[in-house]
Amino acid sequence: MSRYVSRRVLAMIPVIIIVSIMVFSMVHLSPGDPVMLLIPPEEASNEETIELMRRRLGLDRPVVIQYLDWGWNALQGDLGRSIRTRQEVTEAIIERLPVTLQLSLFSTVLSLVVAIPLGIISALKRNSWFDSAATFTGLMGISLPNMFVGIALIFIFALKLGWLPPSGYVSVFDDPVAGFKSLLLPSITLGTALMASVMRMMRSTLLETLRREYITTARAKGLAPKVVISRHALRNALIPVTTIVGLQIAGLLGGAFIIEYIFALPGVGKLAIDSIYARDFPVVQGVVLFFTITFLGINLLVDLGYAFLDPRIRYS
């Protein structure tokens, strides 16, 4: 297992390099002069300033040198400065990170706790009223756009019933009750899709696993149905589910953009959207790199979990 772990960790290095090249290229693949993306719009008409900035930003050097320079700085946590506020990009991200973290964690936990048991029960009681109801709910869940869920929840629970705030953020560390209330609607909104697809996948893979020969064998040799399901079926059925959870967590990180926008939560996603509108390119680039590296870390954990669940992969 430890050999597998170190191999996976080492395998991340080329991915990080590929990703960093892709993120770096954003500025250069964008149509138009890269320098225009990196200087304040009010200075963009002055030829002299443009040339000065081009030299100061090092954009007159060969692209490879620029990349190495940018990558070296990024490795040290320096992602440049915001054009708009002159704040360091890294600092701006760290400032807003707790909001996004709370939102993502809360909604992941919320949806897995609901989805996995429901998916298992659904598969085991196939075609019961419970299964139909759960399948129907799951289908609704993956089909609902999260901006619609969010707006509908605001409409019902904030505007009509007045139980929860329509938007805004209170830190759970300052005021646990208000903090929890401010996060509840966004988390439900963000977690809906994850919940629905995990439930669907759990159900369909468990059903598929239960049709395999080794399950028949396990039953035939007289194992208790509970043991067959928990030790033989579930372990194997969880493998594809782990992959889907890993993939969906990416959706969760991205979903944070829309959720934070709707609920006016001052998180990293909101920072990126505001920066796109303001054409604050260094911040956009920084957030993209940050989210991506974060996701890579999560992905690694998922892969390790995968190997833990399935020895065939570990020893291949």
């Binding site: 991915v15 149509p31 409409f155 505007l159 369909s204 059903l207 028949t216 990126a272 991506t292 996701f295």
Partner: protein, 306 residues
């Protein structure tokens, strides 16, 4: 029939060891249920395509027709779904919006599917260094969370529908590739593949004729999710103002407008949200039916017991 249903539910544990009679009644019922739902899904998709194709003849008003005398009117006899802040007819804008969603859903998913299957099959089947290189390449793309990737691409290429579809299509392929590869790994070492090798089948034939048909179920489930996801992604981008640009009507940008006027005119957000929901639901229901029809294991069992 009622008795057989009761007896099957009493036998704990699902699956393989059911009495043939009870199971075949059962299977027929699922088959019928899923077919019914699939047909509902197909009808929704068909309706959307019809709306998209014939929008100019179906829509009661010009979708861009501003009417100062009918601003933020609630649903009524002349405007069934009310009007927006510029007095434009919401229903007509929804009908024209179907064009955007149909295109985004189909074109983007086709792009992801094609790329994903080829790369996943080759990687999983060949293993070794090629697998490694391909999967690192896929990981490079997969490393970007969906919306982060879409936002990066649209921020880079500029916000419009074509760029949105390219972004969504490329963004979707890694998940297909990984899923396909994972499935290939699980069947690669099975006896029937070994048998094909030993009778001298060429790798391409084994990949596409022996492996691919045996792993279609999860790919189709995932593709059904992806058509929906592509529609959602386009709506999300347009919602954030990074997809289709005004005045072209799209469901995503209509929800955004509806969000602004949620208190005075909830019908804008609710109707466009419902439209996206229906479209995605239709795609999903249809995908489920395809799955039940194309799963050879399920089909095999039915033939065995009929």
């Amino acid at each position: 029939m009622a008795a057989s249903t009761v007896s099957t539910t009493n036998r704990t544990g699902p699956g393989a060891l059911k009495v043939a009679g009870g199971r075949s009644v059962w299977l027929k019922r699922i088959r019928n249920e899923s077919t019914t739902r699939g047909i509902v899904g197909a009808c929704i998709i068909l309706a959307m395509i019809v709306l998209a194709l014939f929008a100019p003849w179906i829509a009661p008003y010009d979708p861009a027709g501003v009417d100062g005398s009918a601003v933020l009117n609630g649903p009524n006899g002349s405007h069934w779904l009310g009007t927006d802040n510029l007095g434009r007819d919401v229903l007509s804008r929804l009908i024209y919006g179907a064009r955007i969603s149909v295109q985004a859903g189909l074109i983007a998913t086709a792009l992801s599917l094609g790329l994903g299957i080829v790369i996943g099959l080759v990687a999983g089947f060949s293993g070794g260094w090629l697998d490694n290189v391909l999967m690192r390449f896929v990981d490079g793309f997969l490393a970007f969370p969906d919306l982060v990737f879409l936002i990066a691409i649209t921020a880079m290429l500029g916000p419009n529908l074509t760029n949105a579809m390219i972004a969504i299509g490329i963004n979707g392929f890694p998940s297909f590739a990984r899923l396909v590869r994972g499935e290939v790994l699980s069947v690669r070492e099975l006896e029937y593949i070994e048998a094909s090798h030993s009778v001298g089948a060429r790798p391409v034939r084994i990949m596409f004729r022996h492996i691919l048909p045996n792993i279609t179920a999860p790919i189709i489930v995932w593709a059904s999710l992806r058509v929906g996801t592509a529609i959602l992604a386009e709506a999300g981008l347009s919602f954030l103002g990074l997809g289709v640009q005004p005045p072209t009507p799209s469901w995503g940008s209509m929800i955004n407008l509806g969000n602004t006027y949620l208190e005075q005119a909830p019908w804008i957000a609710l109707s466009s949200g419902a439209a996206i929901f229906l479209a995605v639901l239709g795609a999903n229901l249809f995908g489920d039916m395809l799955r039940d029809m194309l799963d050879p294991r399920l089909r095999g069992q039915r033939f065995a017991e009929d």
